[in-house]
């Protein structure tokens, strides 16, 4: 589409959109600049540039807080949970898309209906169930993440539905069984949906706050989102803003770097997930 706007209006539109864009970027630039200041420098002026690029706050954040532990926990949980979500959602999607059996349509309907039910409404039974079985902390969180229904499944389903079955026929003749066909032939062809589901799952698990904040009661097992929030609460009493700024930069860096390099793929993945869900 060509833009056919009157110049005068176009300038107004550009100014408004630019203002909005600045409000979205500015906070991180501000946090980054202030993370190099000492506390007293920060209190003198919130606008000044740091006198020197002092990494003292980063050293303090790493030494005095658990941020490195949170970071390690987040990487571990994100990698592992993303892997199991890809595995289970592709399994369900593949079977639903390629095999005829009784109950197939019901399972498909169940997978979709689950998306409409809010999490927080069922918090009471969730909380009681997890505490009765002692499933708090990392193991409980993995159990919760290990799902195969929902949006991820729908992305794989669309892909497998369109994939020709002839590949499998040929492999059957060569004597391969169903498991081998799925693992060695079908799954390797699903690179596109694996990347889409992988990036979306990884970003949402890395950023997830609510269920982790309920389940991760042991501070040594907390993820970065949960730990950062407790640092924020502590900071309100300690007024050590600049160390908190450093911790924020450390924690947001992975997703920002990922987005800078992969933003086309990431937005495409989100678009796919959004429209299927």
């Amino acid at each position: 589409m060509k833009n056919t706007f009157n110049k005068k209006y176009l300038i107004i539109i550009e100014v408004i959109l630019m203002f909005y864009a600045i409000t979205l970027i500015f906070p991180y630039v501000w946090i980054l600049l202030n993370s190099f200041k000492s506390v007293s420098e920060f209190y003198q002026s919130i606008w000044s540039l740091p006198k020197t690029f002092n990494i003292q706050n980063y050293i303090s954040a790493i030494k005095e807080t658990n941020i490195l532990i949170y970071f390690k926990n987040s990487i571990f949980i994100t990698v592992f949970a993303t892997f199991i979500q890809i595995l289970f959602s592709s399994s369900v999607a593949y079977v639903l898309a390629k095999y005829e059996f009784r109950g197939r349509n019901i399972i498909f309907a169940l997978a979709v209906s689950g998306l409409l039910i809010p999490v927080s409404g069922t918090l009471a039974p969730f909380y009681l169930f997890m505490s009765k079985l002692g499933l708090f902390n990392t193991q409980g969180l993995f159990l919760y993440y290990a799902s195969g229904m929902g949006t991820n499944m729908l992305i794989f389903y669309g892909f497998f539905k369109a994939l020709p079955w002839a590949y499998a026929e040929a492999a059957y003749i060569d004597g391969a069984n169903d498991f081998q066909i799925f693992r060695k032939i079908m799954l390797p062809m699903a690179k596109g949906p694996i990347i889409a589901v992988g990036t979306i799952s990884a970003i949402s698990i890395w950023n997830d706050y609510f269920i982790p904040s309920i389940l991760l009661t042991n501070p040594k097992q907390q993820t970065i989102a949960v730990g950062l929030h407790s640092l924020y609460v502590q900071q309100q009493f300690a007024a050590s803003w600049t160390v908190l700024f450093a911790a924020i930069i450390i924690s947001a860096l992975p997703t920002i770097i990922l987005y800078v390099f992969l933003h086309d793929k990431i937005s495409k993945g989100f678009m796919l997930a959004g429209l299927k869900g």
Partner: protein, 298 residues
């Protein structure tokens, strides 16, 4: 025959765990919510007791008398519905229209507007709170610099501005996702339709209302339904910005607090179920209204 059995084993093996997970975390949790909503934990006998609709009448009473802010929570949840449907999505639609017209910097804008979706809500709400902080915040500082110091506020810390500020946060952080989906739909409108209208000399406003909106109506309906359903789940935004204080709480946040702070599992389940049913009705009404509107264009 042997092939058939091995196929059955394969199907069962592939589906067993995901179905079990669904049965526990979706089916069981929802059934238990209904069960707990008509029960109360009796501390004397140490067990659950059937109390009929007592939790619901308690909830109703709490809403009417605004005990524990339940009244405000219900009002706010419906305000959120209005915010998502009538403010965030229309803004996102207009933005999507401009960006798909490829105005200067459109690529930059669409990637920047999407940033809130890749950053944790914990970091986003912190960044927002810093900007609006009463003493070290950027907004109050700018007001001082441009000589409007009298307008300075403890934005997130008093009842007259807190809710508006939380809503503003939701708009600020909520445009990008809707914009992405709507831009995608506008981009798929056949070129011939748009070129034909250009030759007919339609204005931008006419094009927006008479060509763009009818052409992508199914996507608009989808986005509105997702936004409407999301309104009934909002709780992290007020929880992280104000901890639900200063009149900013929502029903899901009340459910969370009732479980984690008061162990009021019966009341929380009744509230959770009530808001889920209300949400379902609201989404259904909105969907049928939009479908009726869409028929006019066919």
């Amino acid at each position: 025959m042997k092939k058939n059995t091995s196929k059955k084993i394969f199907i069962v093996a592939m589906l067993a765990w995901p179905l079990l997970h669904w049965a526990i975390f979706t089916l069981y949790m929802n059934i238990q919510t209904v069960v707990y909503s008509v029960q109360r934990f009796n501390y004397y006998i140490g067990d659950w007791q059937f109390v009929k609709f007592k939790n619901y009448s308690k909830l109703f009473d709490y809403i009417l008398t605004n005990t524990d802010n339940f009244g405000i929570a219900f009002r706010n949840t419906f305000l959120w519905l209005g915010l998502n449907v009538f403010i965030i999505i229309p803004i996102a639609l207009v933005v999507a229209y401009f960006l798909t017209k490829k105005i200067p910097l459109y690529r930059f804008f669409s990637s920047v507007f999407f940033i809130p979706n890749i950053i944790s809500i914990v970091v986003l709400t912190m960044a927002w709170s810093f900007m609006w902080h009463p003493t070290q915040g950027v907004v109050n500082s700018i007001l001082d610099i441009i000589g409007l110091g009298s307008l300075k506020q403890t934005w997130l810390g008093n009842s007259s501005t807190a809710l508006g500020n939380v809503f503003l946060y939701c708009v600020w952080a909520g445009i990008g996702w809707n914009n992405l989906i709507l831009s995608g739909a506008i981009g798929k409108i056949p070129k011939e339709i748009l070129e034909a209208s250009e030759l007919d000399g339609v204005t931008n406003v006419q094009e927006f209302f008479h060509i763009i909106i009818p052409s992508i109506w199914p996507t608009i309906v989808t986005v509105v339904i997702i936004g409407a359903a999301a309104a009934f789940r909002v709780f992290l935004q007020p929880q992280l910005l104000t901890n639900g204080q200063y009149g900013t709480t929502s029903v899901p946040l009340r459910v969370v607090k009732t479980v984690t702070e008061d162990s009021g599992y019966g009341l929380a389940s009744a509230a959770g179920l009530t808001i889920a049913v209300l949400g379902f009705i609201a989404v259904y009404i909105i969907k049928s209204l939009l479908d009726r509107l869409g028929k006019k264009w066919e």
